[in-house]
Symmetry: C2
Subunit: 395 residues, 2 copies
């Protein structure tokens, strides 16, 4: 059902020019993107476009297509084109703009993202884009932040405790990342989360430690095995281009990380998750992270298009709200990023908490009816599945 060739076949069979299927959303207008996506939805297929990677050689004109001006001034960015800090900043700006425009294109009623560009007195800032109360997306947040300053001794100690070889005490740092959580209105459309980030820490001798982290994971309200397989397959393809060992390792890491421990449930059907990635080279690690981030739209948009008009009723909506309560539990109790953010002095809490759903529900002792669709989801949350049948393969 889902593969990169399907759209081309579909386009050809409908006489639609192939140029639609390999376009660059950064330089194409929103209208054009919308046109394209309505065509695919109208065709009733779950096809999706294979986005061509244009790298990070941005012109000034291209930067006008971002959601707002970059945090770092254009002159500094231009004169540091080869520095990973600048490359990552420009890359996450593009990821943000591409994803926001792609989501807006699904909102036939014209809902758009509210864009807040903010700065942080300790250094750097961010761009927070939120679309709230849309027809398709109840709450969609896509945030980038590019911050620098001094890590507290506590934060350094926390990093040391997970194995980082860092000197003790306060250390200068730089961090740039994109993160997003999308809560659709229709319970048949899953929630997606992704986050890709680059970190640098400078030690007293001037040496720099750098690493990447991130992941993409899916939280359905009703299990659709085909959707889960498509989602994992898209992520696996992004990983496999770089290292055949990445997908199995990062899939397991994701299942372990998104664990609502007190309930013995995973948050969703998983995806990939990794941290402290500093191999094989900075360039190769960046390319891997780029592939992952560019896989977000093709992993998710087809699911939105396929299900956004599915029928549902009060019962399904209530279940969705209960599951959103679990999402809140994970984010506020366990998520390292949320905790790190909220405990950071001067943090912009609205940008951290944009991940929370518009509405959530907690019923005492709720349990799905045995044999129901809700019970089927719960079963998968308790026992993560090997979606692509890789078990037994040598990694």
């Amino acid at each position: 059902m889902f593969n990169n060739k399907l759209l081309k076949l579909f386009s050809n069979s409908c006489g639609i020019s192939r140029r639609f299927s390999v376009f660059n959303p950064t330089t194409n207008s929103t209208t054009r993107l919308r046109q394209f996506l309505i065509i695919t939805v109208g065709g009733g297929t779950a096809a999706y476009v294979s986005y061509k990677t244009y790298g990070v050689a941005y012109t000034k004109a291209a930067s006008n297509k971002f959601m707002a001006d970059p945090i770092t001034d254009q002159k500094t960015l231009n004169s540091n084109r080869n520095d990973m800090k600048a490359r990552m900043e420009l890359f996450i700006m593009k990821v943000q703009a591409d994803f926001c425009r792609a989501l807006e294109a699904e909102e036939e009623g014209g809902a758009v993202f509210k864009v807040d560009r903010w700065t942080r007195k300790e250094g750097g800032g961010g761009i927070t884009c939120v679309l709230q109360d849309g027809e398709v997306f109840e709450k969609a947040g896509v945030n980038i932040s590019v911050v620098s300053g001094t890590l507290s001794p506590q934060a350094v100690a926390q990093m040391r405790s997970r194995g980082k070889k860092l000197q003790e005490g306060e250390l200068p740092f730089f961090a740039a990342g994109v993160s997003s959580v999308i809560h659709p209105r229709n319970p048949m459309v899953p929630t997606i989360h992704f986050n890709y980030r680059y970190f640098e820490i400078q030690e007293d001798d001037g040496s720099i430690q750098w690493w990447f982290g991130g992941g993409t994971d899916l939280t359905p309200y009703y299990l659709n095995e085909e959707d889960s397989k498509h989602f994992h397959k898209t992520l696996k393809e992004a990983c496999d281009k770089h290292n055949k060992g990445y997908y199995p390792k990062f899939k397991k890491w994701c299942d372990d990380y998104f664990h609502v421990a007190h309930r013995g449930e995973r948050r969703g059907v998983g995806g990939i998750f990794f941290d402290d990635l500093d191999t094989p080279t900075q360039e190769q690690a960046f390319r891997f992270v780029s592939s992952c981030a560019e896989a977000v739209i093709p992993s998710y948009l087809p699911l939105v298009q396929k299900h956004k008009k599915d029928a549902y009723g009060y019962h399904e909506r209530q279940w969705q709200l209960l599951r959103r309560g679990r999402y809140v539990e994970f984010n506020l109790i366990y998520d390292r990023g949320t905790k790190f953010g909220l405990y950071t002095p001067g943090a912009r809490y609205e940008s951290i908490l944009m991940s929370l759903p518009l509405t959530a529900r907690w019923e005492y002792m709720h349990a799905p009816q045995p044999g129901s669709k809700e019970a089927k989801l719960t079963e998968v949350l308790r026992n993560p599945r090997d979606w692509l049948g890789l078990e037994g393969e040598a990694h």
Copy 2:
């Protein structure tokens, strides 16, 4: 408006026998309690009853009025009447039953508490009572737990870090407590929370360290100054019977504890909060805690009765849901009890998370209109008030 004599005056003027105003809800039937309360509500006054303290000399007959059988078997309780563990267990059973019956009496549609008596394989158990989707109470939880076992070295370290002089390592403990959160449906009725607990730890030399902790705090959605003053006055009266220094000290402690730090807001209009209370004697500390727990009904029920039929609309409901989102943030991010509970192996998470509202909402960048009623509440949450005008008094 609110004082202990008002009901007597009201009862006399209406020709109602005074025996209604000094009754023991543990030995009176629910019907009778309901009758009484409907009379006071019907009278359109905010009067409340002064509950007479019957101590803890329970007969077997009285224990039938509890929500369920005590956790410790009756024989052990009877033969340890003078031991604080038994006294506290029986006391919290009574507090639970009184409060549940008083709340049920407000539910004219007949909603009642669902009662779950549970045991814990590591030792002890609890009784969780939840009333959900009532006409007056959207979600009301009243839980008692009586547990014993071995504290982990981490839990002991945490206690030492807050000043407890304990030996390191694993230690046998006993804990008995009642805790409750009431989320009413009408946004004009505040949410209340209270928790009273007794702790014992045994060291290797056989010596016992014991202490009490607890508190009661109010979270209104719309500020009613008269309500806040009544609430604080009732708590102050309970404190003042024991030590004139308690209310000012524990009022400040409450403002400091229920702090949603990332938002710079308190959870509500405060109340009292204390921990590690082991003076002047065990008997006197128990009597103080008893007074506090017995002040819950007179501090809160009049507010329910006064506002449960107030008019409100969509706007007020939405604000209530947003404030409930903040309540969830406090409970899941900061509350020590919730964290301690959820990280305890074998914890009954349904009993811990019964404190969460049925529904909560998060809007990105919501801010009340300047000058609105919502802004007036927010102002008080940012700058806790001296409700009883005690500032400047010598403590």
